[in-house]
């Protein structure tokens, strides 16, 4: 029961759990927004530093597997949360509500996400999923005087709870059939042939539906725009990036342990991917609300990610990881800019939602406008940005696995997507009839620095993707070895 060698490998989780309790005590001792903020940043750095120590360790326990994939995504998640924490400070700076607990919940949600990516067992997966979701309900409804946020929180609560129930029912049915809850044991059974039967089919179907809800793939995507639009912008960034990325890693682990995908399962994912790409891009065309536009864009992007998932194998994993990193950078930057440009209002932070309120941003704040334009181009997949390379690898993995239908739909839907991304860019650079005033945000230095880093990463991974790709392929080899 007691694996001493696993303890150092779980240091990031231990640090995050301890940090959230200490953060709570810090709040009890003295309420200070700046101190709690710095404490959160410090504990994230500490967790990231402890990750470096376990980078070349492959340890497997009943509940967790610590391999290259897990450690890589853990690192990406911790860095992303670091950015979100930086964006949260100016966002909540002028808010009248008690804002310190936000960081406790942020740390807890991160704990859930980082332990999900190393889960190797239904129990550890479900536990970390619930830690993540329960923190997210509160994070979404955090500005409790904003009715939009509370509405988004309740919507997310109901839908996430229902999808969790569906998911756990599916996991239960798989357990009924196989008598196993560990992915490693399931993998062993699968090579001997599980014997497809009705329980297994229904179970896998329910699991796909549950995970589809969490990933906002198309038949299960309806909650996404409302939740993104209502949640405070830093939380939207969290939902868009971290909760999606960590669930995707578990999806990958589940289906790669069950073995080569059977035709039926593959067909389901092909249909889901096509629907997500087409409907996501299609619905984004008419959006006048930037956050809703990003929500539909994220649905489409998850569709692209599923293309790499269907391709599976080493190329698929390479492509998925690169695409995920590029997508993380874009979403963090976009929601960071939205939260940075928000203004304090009576009930909470008033965000600029409509596209028209960004008209002529370039003539007022050229740096932000250029970054937002670059993010849009990256999401559209224009060369010299990380998004292009990510989409290129996804396309390549589709070609390698001869999924021609998926490849064609990917290209077509990217063309549709180009239209609405460019519409945002045009808004940013056109001269407004009446100049829109943008307020000076407090504590712009750290946020500005974060934007600069995102800008550099976006260009760097777009021009010289070799560094990131080397890192990813190193990690894939560790999985095999």
């Amino acid at each position: 029961m007691w694996h001493q060698h696993l303890l150092p490998a779980l240091f990031p989780q231990i640090i995050l759990a301890a940090a959230s309790v200490l953060c709570l005590l810090l709040i009890a001792w003295k309420r200070n927004h700046a101190v709690v903020h710095l404490f959160t940043l410090l504990s994230l750095i500490l967790a990231l530093a402890s990750l470096g120590k376990i980078y070349d360790a492959t340890a497997v326990d009943g509940l967790f597997v610590i391999d290259g994939l897990g450690v890589f995504v853990e690192g990406v998640i911790l860095i992303a949360v670091f950015f979100i924490t930086i964006f949260s400070y100016p966002y909540f700076f002028q808010s009248q509500i008690e804002k310190e607990e936000y960081y406790v919940l942020l740390l807890l949600a991160t704990l859930g996400a980082t332990s999900m990516v190393i889960s190797n067992h239904f129990v550890s997966f479900f536990l970390s999923l619930e830690i993540l979701s329960v923190s997210l309900y509160t994070l979404i409804a955090y500005p409790k005087k904003m009715s939009a946020s509370v509405e988004a929180g309740v919507k997310y609560l109901i839908l996430a709870a229902v999808s969790s129930a569906v998911l756990v029912f599916g996991l239960g049915l798989i357990y009924v059939q196989t008598g196993q809850m560990s992915l490693a044991e399931l993998g062993k059974l699968a090579t001997g042939g599980i014997g497809a039967n009705i329980w297994m089919i229904v179970g896998l179907g329910l699991v796909i539906a549950g995970l589809g809800f969490k990933l906002a793939l198309v038949p299960f995507h309806l909650w996404t725009p409302d939740v993104y639009a209502g949640a405070p912008a830093p939380t939207s960034a969290f939902v868009a990036t971290i909760s999606k990325g960590s669930v995707f890693v578990f999806l990958w682990r589940l289906f790669s342990s069950v073995g080569t995908m059977s035709h039926a399962v593959q067909l389901i994912f092909v249909v889901i991917a096509i629907a997500s790409m087409l409907i996501g891009n299609w619905l984004a065309l008419l959006q006048q609300n930037l956050k809703r536009l990003l929500a539909y864009s994220s649905i489409a992007n998850l569709g692209y990610l599923i293309v790499a998932f269907v391709a599976s194998g080493e190329t698929g994993l390479h492509a998925a990881m690169f695409f995920l990193v590029a997508y993380f950078i874009c979403m963090l930057g976009a929601f960071g800019i939205i939260s940075f440009l928000s203004e304090p209002a009576e009930s909470g932070q008033q965000e600029r939602l409509s596209l028209s309120s960004y008209t002529g941003l370039f003539w007022q704040k050229p740096g932000l406008a250029v970054l937002l334009a670059l993010i849009m181009l990256s999401l559209a997949g224009i060369p010299l940005t990380a998004g292009f390379i990510g989409k290129f690898y996804v396309l390549l993995s589709g070609v390698y696995s001869t999924q021609w239908l998926l490849v064609i739909v990917l290209i077509l839907s990217s063309v549709i997507g180009l239209f609405y991304y460019l519409r945002v860019v045009i808004q940013l650079f056109s001269r407004p009839e009446t100049p829109v005033s943008y307020p000076a945000s407090p504590y712009a230095v750290s946020t500005g620095l974060a934007f600069l880093v995102l800008f550099i990463l976006l260009i760097w991974f777009g021009v010289a993707p070799g560094h990131l790709m080397d890192q990813i392929s190193q990690m894939v080899h560790m999985i095999k070895g």
């Binding site: 005590l25 009890a28 699968a190 042939g193 497809a196 995908m261 059977s262 039926a264």
Partner: protein, 145 residues
Amino acid sequence: MSDSFVHDIHLWPLLLYSALVLLTAVGMLLLSHFLGQRHEEPATDETYESGIPVTGSARLLFPIHFYIVAMFFVVFDLEAVFIVAWAISLRQVGWAGYAGVLIFIFILVAVLIYEWRQGALDFGPNSKKILKAYYRRIQQKRKSS
């Protein structure tokens, strides 16, 4: 999983079962719709209070402390259950389990400290606060007069 995933199994029991579930639910709703009685008397839509005429709305104002007490009870009671679960398997889980339950209790204490500092444990009217507000008011009156 074999490739002949869908072929060698019978799906019809599932379909039949789903159809039966649907049929039962729809049948119950339809039957009660057509066969059930309908009343249109003056008191039909009134709240049923054991035959006594309604005395007022059910939307009363009462102190939120009741909710907090109930919530604390549920939270801490549930956590006691976990400690009992540990106590049952004391010998099997050994010192690692002991360390685990210590951490668990420490987290409980931390939460209790947090709640205490938040003022969540102050039930009922706070006499100090009331007195303070009272004196402030008296002083304001003196200043104005």
